[in-house]
Assembly symmetry: C2
Homo-oligomer: 107 residues x 2
DNA sequence: TCGATGCTTCGATCGTTGTCGATGTAATCA
DNA sequence: TGATTACATCGACAACGATCGAAGCATCGA
């Protein structure tokens, strides 16, 4: 087993030190809300891989301010990125970050 | 792709319906705390796959009541199971439940 | 039966968070 | 410039959650 690359801490390998645990918990905490999970799944299912905020508000049944709040949390967790183009801000999924979290809980 | 087995909803497949999102969020929410992640990693690293509460209190630097609280949350999320044997309660990891959560965030 | 040990539950505190409505800001269009 | 649209931020509120100390169970040994 390649011990060399310590890119991503894993819950299932050696006991997690407190710092790694805090960092990982930040990521999983962002996944711990139904609205945010649905945002991610909508982004993953979008044909172009991008969705603007206005197209999230209706389906998710939350106000625009609330959706913006959740997108900020997802962004701070590194799970999504926003790109302003004209009046719209297009959000897309960060597959690498998601893969890193997945890697943290696989044996 | 085998559409047949719909055992575990995935964030990255079709858009999540609200009910599935709530259920998945419950699991990820349990992972969204540093103390709980360290509990899981200690369980995974334990030679016998089991640890009693008294052996978690010291390393995690929390009171026994707090550790018990976190174990209850992990248990309700299906991530750990407790087994009373004599004076001790031995906790172990539910690898299947963890794998299901992992499966929910893989493409 | 009585104490000691391991764990759970309870009550209280205090910070966090999901939500809304309202306001602010940026970009576009007339 | 002014109006409109898209999004972010703010203030407030209620609900939740992490934590502790203390009290309550359960089990074992003497």
């Amino acid at each position: 087993m390649a011990e060399a690359l310590e890119c991503c801490p894993s819950v299932l390998a050696a006991p997690l030190d407190p710092g790694e645990a805090v960092e990982l918990a930040r990521g999983f905490h962002a996944l711990g809300d139904p609205v945010r999970l649905r945002v991610l799944s909508m982004l993953a299912a979008a044909p172009t891989g991008e969705i603007c905020v206005c197209d999230l508000v209706g389906p998710l049944g939350r106000t625009q301010g609330t959706i913006s709040h959740h997108l900020r949390i997802l962004g701070e967790a590194g799970l999504v990125h926003g790109d302003r183009r004209g009046k719209w801000v297009w959000y897309s999924l960060d597959h690498d970050r998601l893969a890193a979290l997945k890697g943290a809980i696989e044996g």
